[in-house]
């Protein structure tokens, strides 16, 4: 009787009292959102502490600079992979595409004497075209992206061998191309970059905060914002100080961070990025909301392959050559494992571009540290595999917890 009375006489205010659990919602967000990235940073700190205790060269300025150079290529490829993962899809061809595009650049630059800029642009364009092809086959024929890009993995590897020709290896000597990974900004230049970077970040944060306050919306307290800015400043100062202690701020790291910031902006601040998350969360809802789902998917696959090309170019620059094994081996798997380790969900709709950088740091640190300890690559593979497995299990557990509480 009482239940029926409730049903028949809805509260005029719309009720909702017991349904709203602001504290619980906040905690859940903290655990699965903010703490998610904090968790990776803690993992990274633990890894660094372990290696430092075994080998005191690990945290030296030289080694940390090397670490940054080592992760550039894979981090750039991961940026594109994150976007694909956000859609709930996967791109298994990024390794092969990075190798093929690097080969295209090498052939055009070395054998045909193209200017390095044109050769790089052509290589990226080839990547974009390949990605659009993957996306079109995936969306037009409904073939799972897994299969389309698996076919791509095989086919583009073949194309890479074809492009490289009989020699199989092309050495890169062009100073513009090799300079991508051997240019450093030391001393005052390094600090100037740091100051400009922080100033932009602080200005954007404060302006956003002020606009929200002006509109009377709920915001974080100014003290939280201040703490965040101080932490960011401290991180930037520490990084530049360490890097300046060696050769300076590497151009390669700036390129990586630049792309991460660019796509972080695209995914979180633009309509296109919002639609990527929507398609990854519920593609039917996105379609009904009038979003051109196919176009979003094709563009994302095009970006993924373009970023694979950029990563391949950086790898070629660092290796000073493109050969038949460029982009092969564990390159692809590590590029996908990185973001997943750092918290981007394989199920789509959850994650961020930052995880490309964080994941590459985690994977790169393990690899770098084990090299320093002169461990066998057998151990290296097994440890990396174990870290990936743990990360995916955490992702699956988080998903199950969300489902248990009615979130999908």
């Amino acid at each position: 009787m009482t239940a029926e009375a409730t049903a028949a006489e809805p509260t005029p205010a719309g009720g909702g009292g017991p349904d709203d659990r602001p504290m619980k919602g906040f905690l859940r967000r903290f655990v699965e959102g903010d703490l998610g990235e904090l968790r990776v940073i803690i993992v990274l700190a633990v890894i660094w502490a372990i290696f430092q205790s075994q080998e005191d060269r690990f945290l030296s300025a030289t080694n940390l600079t090397n670490l940054l150079l080592q992760i550039t290529a894979i981090g750039l490829v991961s940026v594109g992979v994150v976007l694909v993962l956000l859609l709930g899809e996967i791109d298994l061809s990024v390794g092969a595409v990075s190798g093929l595009c690097a080969a295209v650049m090498a052939v055009l630059s070395v054998k045909h004497g193209w200017s390095p800029y044109l050769a790089i642009a052509a290589a990226v364009a080839v990547g974009t075209a390949i990605g659009m092809f993957h996306g079109s086959v995936f969306t037009q024929f409904g073939v799972p992206s897994f299969v389309v890009t698996l076919a791509g993995l095989l086919a583009w590897q073949g194309a890479q061998l074809e492009v490289l020709g009989t020699t199989g290896t092309i050495n890169m000597t062009d100073p513009e191309i090799t300079g991508l990974t051997s240019t450093f900004y030391d001393g005052a230049t390094g600090w100037a970059i740091a100051i400009v970077g922080f100033a932009v970040y602080a200005a954007v944060s404060l302006l956003t905060w002020r606009r929200k306050v002006a509109a009377g919306l709920r915001t974080q307290p100014l003290s939280t914002l201040a703490i965040r800015l101080v932490l960011a400043a401290a991180a930037i100062v520490a990084a530049v100080a360490v890097l300046n202690d060696d050769r300076g701020v590497p151009l390669a790291a700036l390129i990586l961070v630049g792309f991460v910031i660019l796509f972080q902006f695209v995914t979180t601040k633009t309509t296109f990025g919002r639609h990527i998350y929507a398609v990854g969360g519920n593609d039917e809802a996105a379609r009904r909301a009038g979003i051109k789902v196919k176009r979003i998917r094709i563009v994302v696959f095009a970006i993924a392959s373009s970023m694979a090309a950029v990563g391949g170019i950086m790898a070629a620059s660092r290796l000073l050559a493109v050969n038949q094994s460029s982009g092969a081996g564990d390159f692809l798997l590590l590029a996908i494992a990185g973001p997943v380790i750092a918290g981007t969900s394989l199920f789509g709709g959850r994650g961020s571009v930052w995880t490309a950088l964080l994941g590459a740091l985690v994977i790169g640190s393990i690899s770098n540290g084990m090299d320093l300890l002169a461990l066998e690559s057998s151990v290296k593979f097994m440890v990396t595999g174990a870290v990936l497995l743990v990360a995916v299990v955490i992702d699956a557990l988080a998903r199950r917890r969300r489902q248990a509480t009615g979130r999908v």
Binding site: G14, K212, G281, I291, R350
Partner: protein, 291 residues
């Protein structure tokens, strides 16, 4: 209850899928400030009718008029542009997005000025409008920046309904809005439907739950085997009569299609005396709801 001219009129609308006649000569109308309940057994054509109005299925025959003008509704965009909003049973919300993001999905607002170049979203404006919209509908959501996936079914349904109102539609179609909701949440959603009516929207509700239908509906349209079997004024009919029309039991020509058509509109308004129903429950709710 409402004497305004119909905002949406369907005349002799037919739709078939191959050999299956899903809708046949259906007449249907909605007035501003009126809740029309569409009831019928599974396969009676309720969803097909709603999808025809929403532009998902184009009709084979018949006419659709919107605000008196004959119109063609062949795509969902046509329907939305006319001012027909649809809230589907499976809500079509993205659980990984927050309330503001869901409300503005597909019609995001961009910042002006320098940010136009970067096609940046105007989050501040969208969040402010979200607050206004939800306050206006008396929907209580503590944090519009919390993920929709964290919310109860009732809140999600209210967000879905609120979203359909952003384009200021004249007609709102709700497909099973209270299915799978608890008692309290159902009450919230029904209250919201009444507020839509009070704001002058024409509301069409599909529901299996006759108690809910009697609580909110002004008119009840019964579909059976793709035809309009009966139309009742909600205040002048009974639970049993509607059930009878749904199952065909009250129809003298049970199983036959022909005569049911004659029952359309006014002809079907019977004046059965209330008070003879054995369970009594729906009658009680009806009075409770309209009081």
């Amino acid at each position: 209850m409402n004497d305004g001219a119909p905002v949406l009129t369907l005349e002799e609308v037919s739709k078939s899928f191959g050999p299956v006649q899903a809708l046949q000569d259906v007449d249907f109308e909605v007035r501003p400030g009126e809740v029309v309940a569409l009831v019928g057994d599974n396969g009676a054509g309720k969803s097909t009718l709603v999808k025809a109005i929403a532009g998902i299925h184009s009709i084979d025959g018949g006419r659709i008029a919107f605000e008196g003008r004959p119109v063609k509704v062949s795509t969902p965009t046509d329907a939305v542009n006319l001012g027909i909003a649809t809230v589907y049973q499976d809500l079509a919300l993205c659980d990984n997005l927050d309330v503001v993001e869901n409300l503005f999905l597909g019609r995001e607002e961009r910042s002006v000025g320098l940010a136009t170049i970067t096609r940046q979203l105007d989050e501040t404006s969208m969040e402010r409008q979200a607050h206004e919209l939800l306050d206006n509908l008396a929907v209580t959501i503590t944090d519009v920046r919390s993920e929709v996936g964290t919310m109860s079914g009732g809140q999600r349904q209210q967000v879905a309904i609120a979203r359909s109102l952003l384009g200021e539609p004249k007609v709102v179609l709700l497909d099973e809005p209270t299915a799978a909701l608890g008692v309290r949440q159902t009450a919230q959603v029904l209250a919201l439907i009444k507020r839509l009516r009070d704001k002058g929207h024409g509301v069409v509700v599909i529901s299996h739950n006759l108690s809910n239908v009697f609580e909110v509906a002004d008119r009840i349209v019964v579909l059976r085997l793709g035809r309009v079997a009966a139309v009742y004024d909600a205040k002048e009919t009974t639970h049993e009569e509607v059930v009878g029309a749904i199952t065909g039991a009250s129809d003298p020509s049970t199983g036959e299609l022909g005569p049911a058509v004659d029952e359309v509109m006014g002809a079907a308004r019977r004046r059965d005396q209330p008070g003879e129903q054995p369970d009594g429950e729906p009658r009680e709710r009806e009075t409770g709801g309209t009081a």
